[in-house]
Each structure stands twice: as C-alpha cells, then as structure tokens.
C-alpha cells in the first residue's frame, strides 16, 4: 500500500563505491557485487513522489508540483529499471506504484511509465480521490493496472481538513464509482483513525461509509504523529490528551470489519473473505514484504531488499535525475542484512499476519521462555503444522499464531519473543 521508504538517518552513509557510480565509467554499471545476476526478484515497487500539495501528517518522500519534471522523472525510472533489470525474474508477480500521489503524475507520463514496466499478475496504483476521473480510470485500466488503492482516510469533512486532505467525502465516493465503472474489481480504501478530534461515533460512521462502498480491501492505519512534522507541531499535544480515549479504536476497527465479513489478514489490512469471493483478495505485493521476500524499488527514496542487502536510493530528485541521465546508478544507502537480522525480521513481519508462522526458520531468534509466558497470558498460541507422521523436523517445531489480543499488542509481544 504505502511506498517502501525508510525513515531517514537510519542507515549507513551513502555508498559511493558502487561499480558504476564513478563518473568515469562509460560502460553500463554491473550488478551490485554479492547480488548475483541470477534473476530472482518477483516484486517491483515504483515510487512516484509528486503531489499537488503536502499533507501535514505526511513524512514520505514527496515532491510538490514540478509538472515540468514528470517526464524527466519517468525517463529516470525507466533508465533505473534498465540498470537493474538483471535482478528481475522473467515473470513478475507484482508491481506497485506508490507515492506521493502516482495519479497526480502527468497522465501522458504515467501511461508511458506503465507501458515501460514489466507485466505482472497484480499491478497496483495508489490514487488520491480528487485525481480519479473517468479518463484516468480508463487510462489505468488499459495500461494493465488491475488493483487501485484509494486514499480515502476519513469521510468526515472536518477531519479531512485536519489532515489537509483536498478531497471531500463525495470525491471519495465518485472516485470509487469511476474505478468500478472502468472495470476495476479489486479496490482498496485507506482509512486513518485517531485523528485529532475524532470521536468514537466519527470512527463508526467512517467504517460504515467505507463498508457501504463494498471495497475488496481496506487498510486502516492509526495516525502516526511523527516527530518533526508540521502536523505534530500543530496537533501533538491534543493527540496526547486523547491518547487514552483513542486506545480502543484499533480494537473497534478490527471488531467491526471482522463482523462485516472481512478477513483481518495483517495488522492494518483487511480483505473480503475468500469463501465469499472465490479469490484471494490479500495484497500480493505487500504480502511479499511480510513474508520476507526480495523486492526491487525504483525511484527516489525507494527501498530494495535483495538477498541479504537492503538499500535506499537517494531521496533527492536532482541528483537522482543527473546520475541516471549519465547512465549511472543514483546514490544509495546500503544496509547489510546478516542471517540473524533476516530471521528477526521474518519473525517481526510474520507475526503481523493471521497465518501461523512456522517456527523452525526463526527458532534461533526466539525466546522460548517468553513464548511460554505469552501462551500462559493468552497472547500467543503454538499450533502443529500439517505433515502428520511424515513431518520433517522443521514441521515438528510447529507454528506460532498470535491471538486477537496478541495481535493488538503485537509490538510488545514481538519484542518479548525476540531472543
């Protein structure tokens, strides 16, 4: 759903020693050493940073306006894709265009980009309601997009204003029907709860409004007032005052959506249940993150994780475009991921899902005593894996599932479980 971006200042300094990052090199850059040219990455993320304006609560890499640069940026993305193409499997499973506001990109450029990207079973584009016209919906449809994630956030006009959102409640509904009319049968809505001033009745009304549209998928996020944002500056104190009252909102969201027949398949994500649908409506792209698969990210600030290395591309538009114009890779921050770190991440991400997490692959990072304690407290459950008498040693370790309460307390539980 949300673009894979790292918070800044968390990774080692930008690595300038990459093959190809030296200006003198005339040959196309070779793949990163250690990341074999063995084409294996099946998930592609593309970051489109442009927005009409910046919402106060946003801390993503965004670029306001700059319509004149949209074409150059799409050139850059396609050039970067060429440089990394060796990493990609012949057939991709998912492509995800996130932002920013991907649908704010000049339609001609957006279409050119989509045409240049490899095909995939699931192609998702994030959209802001005010940008979705019948024309745009048709453009997306004919460009191979088969899933749209619509940033509704809330249906209360006053709360939309608190969030600096441009769209009104009717824009959300209209956008939704434009997409339906264009033939989209897999639409996700983003909702935000915990907005300053949001009463429980506001939350209930938001969920009702969202359900009335019968979206295939819902993402519900608690508003994160990140330090340093304009939003936190304006509303931080109020949020702290409301913190206790809003503590029950998450449980309320889960309860309502599950009651309405949605599957709570990830901490913040819900989809219509497969039994009723005959198809799996989970976000395949995001599942790749949660299942610890490799992914390639293109664009400024985008993050990639490819076999034991994670990197984040420079968030600065100018240097990004310059490097790619010269046939160079843009600067990147590198983060090596040793095995133990990857196992810890598997545990951390796997526990966000409703499916049992097989214990054998993460056993080394697991604090067995903490697990027993969490089981006693009714927060976690160990289950057997299928396999019966023929079970391998790994299968005999069983799997781990968090209970509903365990999932609401997921971070504390995970911190406990990590050895």
């Amino acid at each position: 759903m949300r673009p894979p971006l790292l918070g800044s200042k968390q990774l080692p300094a930008f690595d300038r020693s990459w093959p190809g990052s030296t200006a003198a090199s005339a040959k196309p850059p070779r793949p990163l050493s250690g990341i074999a040219s063995d084409a294996s990455v099946r998930h592609l993320y593309v970051h489109l940073p442009f927005c009409a304006h910046r919402c106060g609560y946003c801390d993503f890499v965004t670029v306001v306006g700059r319509r004149s640069q949209h074409a150059a940026y799409v050139d850059g993305l396609l050039a970067e894709l060429e440089l990394e193409r060796e990493l990609l499997a012949p057939q991709l499973e998912t492509v995800f265009l996130g932002g920013g506001t991907p649908t704010f990109t000049e339609p001609r450029e957006l279409e050119r980009l989509l045409a240049g990207l490899p095909a995939a079973a699931e192609v998702t584009v994030e959209a802001n309601p005010e940008t979705v016209t019948p024309v745009l919906a048709a453009l997306l449809r004919r460009s191979g997009v088969n899933r749209v994630s619509l940033g509704a956030q809330t249906f209360r006009p006053a709360l939309l204003r608190v969030l600096d959102r441009v769209a009104g409640p009717d824009d959300v509904r209209r956008a939704f029907y434009h997409l339906r009319d264009a033939g989209f049968d897999n639409i996700s809505l983003d909702l935000i709860y915990g907005i300053p001033g949001q009463k429980p009745s506001d939350l209930d009304a938001d969920i009702d409004e969202a359900l009335a549209l019968r979206p295939e998928h819902l993402s519900c996020y608690e508003l994160e007032a990140k330090p340093g944002t304009r939003f936190t500056h304006a509303h931080g104190e109020e949020l702290q005052r409301q913190a206790e009252a809003m503590e029950g909102y998450f449980a309320r969201v889960v309860e309502t959506l599950v009651g309405a027949g949605y599957r709570w398949y990830e901490t913040a994500n819900f989809c219509r249940a497969p039994a009723a649908e005959g198809r799996d409506l989970r976000s395949r792209h995001n599942l790749a993150y949660w299942q610890g698969r490799d992914y390639l990210g293109l664009g400024i600030g985008a993050v990639s994780t490819v076999r034991g290395t994670r990197w984040r591309t420079t968030p600065r538009l100018g240097p990004y475009l310059t490097a790619l114009r010269e046939g160079q890779r843009p600067l990147r921050e590198l983060e090596p991921l040793p095995e133990a770190v990857r196992r810890a991440e598997r545990l951390m991400l796997g526990l966000r899902l409703d499916e049992p997490l097989p214990l054998a692959p993460v056993a080394e990072e697991l604090d067995a005593r903490a697990l027993s304690r969490l089981e006693r407290l009714g927060l976690a459950r160990r289950t057997a894996l299928d396999g019966g008498a023929a079970a391998t040693p790994g299968e005999r370790e069983g799997a781990l599932t968090l209970t509903t309460r365990g999932r609401l307390l997921g971070d504390a539980v995970t911190a406990d479980l990590l050895a």
Binding site: R2, P3, L6, E247, G248, F250, G297, R310, L409, D411
Partner: protein, 596 residues
C-alpha cells in the same frame, strides 16, 4: 617544652562564622606558614572541604607564640560531626568560640558551646567580622556572654579577614587557657583522638600525649585493643608533617604506626610504651553509633566491586561510617550504610561519586529503630524491610533540636514541628529579635526534608542543630508496597501510624504513573501487615503496534523493536511484572522530597 608553656585549644563556631579564616590568620601571624604558602583554609585539605567551606577531619597544628607552644586542634563545624568535635575537645584545655558580629549566636554556636562546657574547657569568646558594615559587635557580645557566662566586655572583637585583634586572641589563649596537666615522669599515655590512612605509611594516629613521652622507633601498644607496633616516626603538624625526636607530655602530634589495617587502631584508645607500660588507660570516648541509614546501590550492577572497594577506603578515614552488604530484589546488590546524620550521608555519597567516580542510587534515608520482638528480645533494625511484622513495641531515636529564628517566624516553625511530631520544650529570647526554640523531635522526621522545610518557612533565616536524646516508644508501623501482590523490599518504610495512609497513597499513586502498562492489570498496594491501606491499578495496555509496516518501514521498525528489547533487559522483575529501574528511582525521589 615544659607543660606551663603549652596550650591546647580548638576553635568552635557556627558554619561560616569565620573559624577557618581565623585559623589561617593565626598560622600567618605566628609565621607557621609564609605568605607565599598561604592559601585560604590551609587546614582543610580535602577538595570537598574546600568547596563546601566545611571541615571534615580534625587536624592539629602547632604554632609558636611568645615563647609558648600552641596546638590548634581543628574541629568540624557541623552537627553531624558532634562526635568528632567532642573527640577534638577532649584533647584540649580551652576553646575559642567565634560568633559572627552580624549574625549573632546561632544554633551550632549553642551546641558547640555546650559541648565545650561539658568537657570543662576554658572558653575564649570572640566576636568576628567587626569590619562588616552590618556588624553589631555589642549585640553579639551580649548574646555570647549570656550563653557562656561572663561579661560582654571580656568578649574579644576581631576581624579574622583583616587580622584586626587576632594577636589579642593569641594572647588570651596564653593567658586564659590553663596549661595541660599531666606527669612527664609517669609511664607514657597518649589519647588517640583521630587517625588517617596513608597508603605508603599506613595508619597515622593523631595523639594528645598526657603523661610521659614517646620517641621514634619506640615499641608501642594500643591498650584497649592490644595492637602492638613500632612508632616509625613521631612528630607534629606545622602545618605539614614535621618529624620530631620525641612527643612529650601535654603535646599534640602524630605517630606513624605502619599498621596496614585501620581497624587495628581505634580512635579513643590509649597508646602506651611497651617497655614502660602505664597500668591504666585514659578514659576513652563513648562509642558513637550511626543513626541514619540508607541503601547505596550502584546504578550499574557491574560497579558493585568498585563500590565495595571505595567504601573500604572511605572507612579507613571515617571511623563513623558503617556498611554491610544488602541485596534488594528491585535494586540488586549494594550496601546498607549507616551515617552519623544527613550531612555525613551527603558527604559520603559525594565522595563516592566524585573521588571514586561511581554512579549511585540511594534509597530514602531511615533511622535506627529498636524493636521488641514477640519473643521478648530487643533488636535494632536499620532497614524497614527487616522490621518484623509482629512486634510488641517499637522505639525510635529522638533528638533535642535547637532552632534559632527571628521572632516573626515562631508560628510557622512551631507548626512545622507539630506536623513532625515534635514536643515543645521551651522558648528563649536571645535578644529582642531572636528566639531559640527547643524541641524534641523524632530523628525520622528530620532525616528527609526537615531542614529544607525549615529554611523555606523562615526565608533561610533559621539555624538548626540537634543532638541525640535517646530512644522513645512510638506508634510506628511497617508499610509494605506490593506490586501485583509481590512485596517490593526497597520500598518498605516505617512510618507513624497517623501518616501511614497518606504516605502509602502517595507512593502507590507515583508507582501507577511510573510503571509501564503491562499485558494485564497490575495492582499497586500499600499495606500494613495484611491490611491494604491504599491501592491503585496500572491498567493493562490495550494496543501496542505500529500500524504501518511496508518495504520501506522494515528497518525502522526493526530498530524500534531492538530498542524496546534493550529497554526490557534493563527492567527489574517483580514477580510477573517488569519495572524499569527509573520507576524505583522516581519513587525513591518522592520519598526524598515533597511527599508531605
């Protein structure tokens, strides 16, 4: 030197009334130190003493004045060190009592004057700081004359700062203070009035020779303990150590014992000659017992051995310091330490932190209680967690407190004393403006924040001193603090029954604020025995998860978890509940400060 030409004296004064300055001037005037060597407060050697302007260890300096040998025995000025003051005074025949001409008689002036009188010392009263514009020497002289008896015109008027009148003080010492009595021909006897430890030369004993003489290389014996050693060197301070061939009757000086174990030579013991031993020791000092106790724990448990070593080394120079290992489930390994009083505690703590670079956690100070157990035995309890739950009686130490204040503050101070379970003894007008209030107060009521309260209610004008008045029975209860039904040893307290509810309530309220919410409701309770007197609940947390976690969030989220995990490692386990050490700290601070 024959006895008639020796004078042994101390200078006693309230803090900041100019004792150290007068000592400095005496050293200068008698040419004991040259002007070049002169620096303020020559006698106070420890860094801390210099900074706080107080003197911790007694020292003795020999000066010469008009053919007389004068031994100035320096004394600590503060109430906690009454013990050391009285030790010093026993080595003297007289005392110079210094009073600030602008401040008049203060609480410590009174306490020290009484100590001097108890020790049969000749008092030379002096009004100091007559050069100050706000000085009122006549008023001060009248107050001092009334205190010690005598006529105001016999009170010397000086300025230790300018040196005016200091020569007259020296003359008065020679004229008014009697020479020491003692028998130069008798078998030698010397009173150990203090000691110090030198890492190269071992224990250095400060002695007052009473009878006979000691020579260097002479085999000596400490009569009470039976410790034998050879005097490696004898000598005196002038103001640095000067070796001498002998120390004779009436003189004050030092003996380098070479002993490497400070416990083998106790202050108060009598040294005599091995070859010509005295039949009887001199009367010793009464053994003082620490009255204020607190647990000292290293913030980082790895520092425990360092803390142990540091306490051992402090103890070498501080006989009054008491310590024994203490283990607390909440705070880990540390020591229960006993102090003479609050200032003593503060100084020990500061020396540990400053000279030994330790980071310490100090529990709320408590006092020594005497407890009559069901089996009819009296035991002394230094730690609330050790107080038996079933007792027949509890006694607590009381002090006689002297509080001197401008008369306008009598009301607020009496109110404070009543709050602190004080018993009024009497009120005395020192002058039309200034009043001495005498109270008996439980020591436990003054160890926490009494002095701060007193100062704030009198705008800083109060002066305060106390000495111990013995143990009295009290309506005292042990209050335990339970977190999720587990008692927390470090938080137990002994309080008066009337205050138990308020104290317990304040403490559990604070715990509720400080203990992070857990997976389940956690009750925090204060209880007397099995009776719960206050209860708060730390509500279970309902939500703890970052909503969003996609490809770009993973590293940030993992680092957050790592931090959360590291935080958990610093938690102390109380039953099933994880409590950060900071929570204990905050609660202990509450005990320290504004709990009332």
């Amino acid at each position: 030197m024959d006895l008639d030409h020796i004078r042994n004296f101390s200078i006693i004064a309230h803090i900041d009334h100019g004792k150290s300055t007068l000592a400095d001037r005496i050293l200068e005037l008698t040419k004991t130190v040259s002007g070049r060597e002169m620096r303020a407060q020559v006698l106070d050697t420890m860094e801390l003493e210099r900074e706080r302007g107080i003197t911790i260890k007694a020292q003795a300096v020999r000066v010469t004045w008009k053919g007389h040998e004068l031994n100035l025995i320096d004394t600590p000025g503060h109430v906690d060190f009454t013990y050391e003051v009285s030790r010093s005074l026993q080595a003297c025949e007289g005392a110079v009592l210094v009073v600030d001409a602008a401040q008049g008689v203060e609480a410590q002036t009174v306490a020290n004057a009484y100590l001097a009188i108890e020790n049969n010392l000749e008092i030379v009263p002096v009004v100091n700081k007559i050069d100050l514009p706000q000085a009122d020497p006549d008023a001060a002289a009248t107050e001092i004359a009334e205190l010690v008896g005598g006529k105001p015109e016999d009170v010397l008027r000086i300025s230790a700062k300018t040196g005016a009148g200091v020569a007259e003080v020296l003359d008065a010492i020679v004229e008014r203070i009697p020479p020491p009595s003692g028998d130069p021909a008798a078998p030698p006897r010397a009173l150990v009035f203090d000691s110090s430890y030198d890492q190269y030369r071992g224990v250095v004993a400060f002695v007052r020779m009473v009878d006979g003489a000691f020579a260097a290389r002479e085999p000596l014996r400490a009569m009470a303990q039976g410790t034998r050693f050879e005097a490696e060197e004898v000598g005196f301070f002038s103001p640095t150590m000067k070796a001498a061939e002998t120390l004779g009757a009436g003189e004050v000086g030092y003996v380098i014992t070479g002993l490497k174990d400070v416990s083998r030579l106790r202050v108060g013991d009598t040294l005599t000659s091995e070859r010509n031993p005295a039949p009887e020791p001199l009367p010793g000092y009464k053994d003082v017992k620490p009255m204020v106790f607190a647990g000292l724990f290293p913030t980082d448990s790895d520092d425990y051995p360092d803390l142990r070593d540091a306490l051992e080394r402090l103890k070498l120079n501080d006989a009054a310091l008491f310590y024994e290992p203490e283990t607390s489930q909440a705070l880990g390994f540390g020591f229960r330490c006993g102090f003479l009083g609050l200032l003593h505690m503060e100084i020990v703590r500061e020396r540990l932190e400053r000279e030994f670079d330790l980071d310490l956690l100090v529990t709320a100070p408590t006092v020594a209680y005497r407890v009559l157990e069901r089996n009819g035995e009296w035991v002394e309890v230094h730690n609330p967690a050790e107080m038996p739950r079933e007792v027949d009686a509890v006694e607590e130490p009381y002090v006689r407190a002297s509080i001197i204040i401008p008369k306008d503050y009598v009301g607020p101070v009496m109110e404070l004393n009543n709050d602190r379970r004080g018993r009024f003894d009497h009120l005395e007008y020192l002058s039309p403006e200034r009043v001495l209030l005498a109270y008996e107060l439980p020591l436990a009521e003054i160890v926490l924040d009494y002095y701060d309260q007193l100062k704030s209610r009198t705008r800083g004008y109060a002066s305060f001193d106390y000495d111990l008045a013995g143990f009295r029975e009290g309506e005292l209860a042990r209050v335990d603090i339970l977190i999720a039904d587990e008692p927390v040893d470090a938080l137990s307290m002994i309080v008066h029954r009337d205050a138990a509810y308020a104290r317990g309530k304040a403490l559990v309220e604070r715990l509720r604020q400080e203990i992070p919410r857990q997976y389940f409701d956690v009750p925090a309770q204060a209880a007397i025995g099995s009776r719960v007197i206050a209860r708060e609940t730390i509500k279970a947390k309902r939500k703890d998860v970052l909503a969003k976690c996609y490809g770009g969030d993973i590293t940030r989220k993992r680092k957050l978890l790592e931090r959360q995990k590291a935080g958990k490692r610093r938690m102390k386990q109380v039953g099933a509940v994880e409590v950060p050490q900071e929570a204990f700290l905050a609660v202990l601070n509450l005990n320290d400060g504004s709990k009332r």
